[in-house]
């Protein structure tokens, strides 16, 4: 009787273990996931699946005025079927669309990835430049992939002009 009970506990332990692995595979691994590489000055930072909420509210990508910023959006299809969607990217400010950046259809084979890239030219968005005295200008990049919408805010900041020394 005691041995039967011990074996029951061992069986339940193994069952929980198998359940854990199954959840990680089905819920954690399978699905369609997206990530965005944003410029942070000279660095590049990757926004991953669990960071979209944080980036839509608190974090900012940083671009100096006069620079062209490169963004890379990565869609990872971890399903047994082909994933197709339209990816549309636009820049917004004060709830108004400023400019469309990209509209592209993607068709991704099972367990494959695809990347789309676009460039933000800061001189087109703010032709007059950004002074250091004023506040940096903020814009929102809105990415629509099918019914999913992602938002990332980026800041355009100014450059300090060092006065030439008196002769």
């Amino acid at each position: 009787m005691a041995i039967k009970r011990i074996n029951l506990y061992l069986g339940l332990t193994i069952l929980c273990f198998v359940g854990l692995i199954a959840i990680f595979i089905v819920d954690g691994y399978m699905g369609v996931y997206d990530a965005l590489h944003v410029p942070m000055g000279e660095r590049e930072e990757k926004i991953e699946a669990d960071q979209w909420q944080q980036w839509s509210q608190w974090e900012r990508a940083e671009i100096g005025w006069g620079e062209r910023a490169f963004f890379r959006y990565e869609v990872d299809n971890r399903q047994f079927s082909t994933y197709s969607a339209n990816v549309a990217v636009s820049v917004w400010r004060s709830r108004e669309k400023v400019r469309d950046l990209l509209s592209q259809s993607v068709s991704i084979a099972p367990f494959d990835k695809e990347e789309v890239e676009w460039v933000v030219d800061t001189t087109e968005l703010v032709p007059t430049g950004v002074s250091l005295e004023g506040r940096p200008v903020e814009y929102t990049i809105v990415i629509n992939r099918g019914e999913i919408e992602r938002k990332v805010i980026f800041t355009i900041f100014g450059y300090a002009k060092v006065p030439s020394p008196p002769r």
Binding site: R5, Y9, T13, C16, F17, L20, F24, Y29, Y33, D50
Partner: protein, 58 residues
């Protein structure tokens, strides 16, 4: 008998390392329900493992 215990211990360590690795890499992709069920299963796993060793006389 002692060798058997060492092998069991080694097997348990490997299993825990595997779950730890999966958790480290994929926990960010889990849904809220998935995280809750994973937590419950982890608690259940350690509870039953404890009961198993208790039954063995450890």
């Amino acid at each position: 008998m002692r060798l058997e215990y060492i092998l069991i211990g080694f097997g348990i360590l490997l299993c825990l390392a595997g779950v730890g690795y999966l958790a480290g890499v994929y926990v960010k992709y889990l849904s809220e329900a998935g995280k809750l069920v994973s937590l419950l299963l982890t608690i259940g796993m350690f509870t039953f493992l404890g009961k198993y060793f208790e039954g063995l006389g450890w």
